[in-house]
């Protein structure tokens, strides 16, 4: 049985400008020890999908309209705050994008680290302190013993992200949700942090949902990838397949937009047009207006994910009907 099975999640925001369909029917599952990447541009709903799982959607204006998220057979979306609090931080942990604001500036590193352990009753104070120091050493903070009683502002950005990771993993969770954990860091630190998450994952046999808009990072890091566009998953498959046999024009266009893969001196490839306004219901494929392969049928029929190859799903009508084949 899958560790987490999400089906038909719909998270809408009811704003004055209308109903924003941030996540519109997303389903995926993740096994123990697996790394699942979610890629997509800003506003494609990748973060909102994961925030919904953690109960972090501000309500109002947010509302989870439908869906089921079975974590070990229990539906996260139906749980009360108190029930969720027994799972959050203990079995599902999360790390955030900006290490500068994700630690409380008024508490010592040590006090923040031991909080989840004490809260979930996993250790007494003495044991928790020992574990905190151990964890801080594991995430590669030099002189951890010397620095554990310091405050966040005495740490650099990369160090703070390490502390965040230590804090998320100190309870040895089954699932880690990493929401663009390296976006705010520079490239060298980025590589270290990814390396760190990977090695911790192997030690704890933990599943990781990795949210990113950096295709390069995802390619090297994840077992499977979901590509999201305008609140829906448009392609899903093993990382190799996603990159060698793109089966959705959006995925293909995304990969062509990676500057490093293009010849020098050429104008950079861009996807024409704008992502659709999420407050307006779209008839047909949401990407049709920007798609070079779009046919008349694309703007009429709403596509659904269908298996196009073993373990490879696409929501492109024309690919499903073998009308087009896409080169990487």
């Amino acid at each position: 049985m899958a560790l987490l099975k999400l089906s038909d999640l719909k998270t809408f925001f009811h704003t004055r400008a209308g109903v924003v369909r941030a996540v519109n029917g997303v389903s995926f599952s993740i096994e123990k020890g697996e790394t699942l990447g979610i890629v997509g541009e800003s506003g494609s709903g990748k973060s909102v999908a994961c925030y919904s799982l953690m109960g972090l959607i501000p309500k109002p204006p947010g509302k989870i309209e439908s869906g089921q998220a079975l974590f070990d057979g229990e539906d996260l979306l139906q749980m009360s705050e108190a029930q969720l609090n027994r799972i959050r931080g203990r079995r599902i942990a999360m790390i955030f994008q900006d290490p500068m604001t994700s630690l409380n500036p008024y508490l010592r590193i040590e006090d923040q680290l031991i909080e989840p352990l004490l809260l979930h009753g996993l250790a007494d104070k003495h044991g928790a302190r020992k574990k905190a120091l151990e964890m801080l050493e594991k995430v590669g903070i030099p002189g951890a013993a010397r620095r554990i009683r310091m405050y966040p502002h005495e740490f650099s950005g990369g160090m703070r992200q390490r502390v965040m990771i230590a804090m998320a993993l100190i309870t040895e969770p089954d699932l880690l949700i990493a929401d663009e954990p390296t976006t705010a860091l520079d490239v060298t630190v980025q590589a270290q942090i990814l390396e760190l998450i990977k090695s911790m994952q192997q030690q704890l046999n933990m599943a990781v949902i990795f949210i990113s808009h950096d295709l390069g990072v995802v390619a090297g890091f994840c077992d499977r990838v979901n590509v999201m566009y305008s609140g829906q998953i448009v392609e899903s498959g093993h990382t190799d397949a996603i990159f060698t046999h793109p089966s959705h024009p959006y995925n293909q266009a995304l990969q062509r937009s990676i500057p490093a893969l293009q010849a020098k001196g050429q104008e950079l490839f861009t996807i024409e047009g704008q992502p659709p306004d999420l407050t307006r219901p779209v008839s047909g494929c949401a990407f049709a207006a920007r798609c070079v392969h779009a046919s008349h049928a694309c703007s009429q029929t709403s596509p659904h994910l269908e298996c196009v190859d073993e373990g490879h799903w696409s929501a492109c009508l024309r690919v499903q009907q073998h009308e087009i084949t896409l080169a990487p």
Partner: protein, 307 residues
């Protein structure tokens, strides 16, 4: 202390634990940094010291001086400062020094208690409003807007007229008026804080709401609240003086700085010391509090803190 982000080339090779040899370094909290900055600010330090001295004097002063604040000596009416009566006497021959010290006690107490009242209400109200957001926030803030629109002096005067001149009532009345701004400040802080990732991280760690508010939200709101409180105290004292000046404040033979100034102003041509002494003490105290408040604001300003 330099903290380079020492790159560990292979994070998988973790450094050997050597913590038994090393002593944990106690970091400097933002409070300690602020305290350090405050001590460098001379005006603020002077202000703080003056208030301390004034507070002590009005606390123990009335018991030290030889004359009681209500002890009349009709033979020595409106006598100028002398060796017997250092600051002179008022129109009923009461010792001005004793009355000024006693008045300080009342004025400072009004300032502190009314500020405490406004702080309590404002903190609770602002936190709830800011944290709940949405409709709750909208309703709560509209109520504040309405109360703001009431002419507050008239409100206080009405209270005094209806319920009589009770000093406890005055504490309550002034506090009830002053909490509005405090609530707005706290709400604004909470609103911006709850969008910060460490609050989201707290929720993601499974922390219950009360713990998030008390342990993580409160210390972050405290800075601006402290600053505003120090600036509320003089405002409240001024309001009390104003009420006393109108004759709505404390009742004879009790006195506050406001009522002393009023008495002094009535006969300032014959006995100017009755206006000069309480007036200048009051002004000095207000100045000191404002300097202290300004200093605190500079010291606690998050933009000035290293990040």
């Amino acid at each position: 202390m330099s903290r380079p982000d020492q790159a560990t080339p292979q994070p998988s090779i973790w450094p050997e634990s050597a913590h038994s040899l090393e002593e944990a370094e106690q970091g400097h909290s933002l409070w300690q940094d602020a305290w350090h900055r405050l001590r460098k600010n001379r005006m603020a330090v002077f202000g703080g010291l003056f208030i301390l001295v004034m507070g002590l004097a009005s606390l123990v002063g009335p018991t030290m001086v030889t004359h009681g604040y209500q002890e009349q000596n009709l033979e020595l009416r409106e006598s100028p400062p002398s060796a017997e009566h250092w600051l002179g006497t008022d129109k009923l021959g009461r010792d001005l020094l004793a009355r000024v010290l006693y008045g300080g006690r009342i004025s400072l107490t009004v300032g502190l208690v009314a500020t405490a009242v406004s702080l309590t209400i404002g903190l609770l109200y602002g936190t709830v409003s800011g944290f709940c957001g949405g409709k709750v926030d909208a309703v709560m803030m509209r109520l504040v807007d309405i109360l703001y629109a009431l002419p507050f002096t008239i409100f206080v005067i009405l209270l005094m007229v209806f319920f009589g001149r009770d000093i406890r009532l005055m504490f309550l009345a002034i506090g009830a008026v002053e909490w509005l701004t405090m609530a707005r400040i706290v709400r604004g802080q909470v609103l911006s804080l709850r969008k910060q990732e460490f609050i989201e991280a707290c929720i993601a760690l499974g922390l219950p709401l009360h713990r998030i508010i008390l342990r993580h939200l409160a210390p972050n709101v405290l800075g601006p609240v402290i600053v505003y409180s120090t600036l509320t105290i003089p405002a409240v004292m001024l309001l009390e003086a104003f009420l006393s000046f109108l004759g709505l404040g404390v009742q004879e033979p009790m006195c506050s700085w406001g009522s002393l100034i009023k008495e002094g102003a009535e006969i300032m041509e014959e006995a100017p010391w009755l206006l000069i002494f309480p007036g200048s003490l009051f002004a000095m105290t207000l100045f000191s509090l404002n300097f202290l408040g300004d200093g605190l604001r500079d010291a606690l300003d998050p933009r000035a803190s290293k990040d």
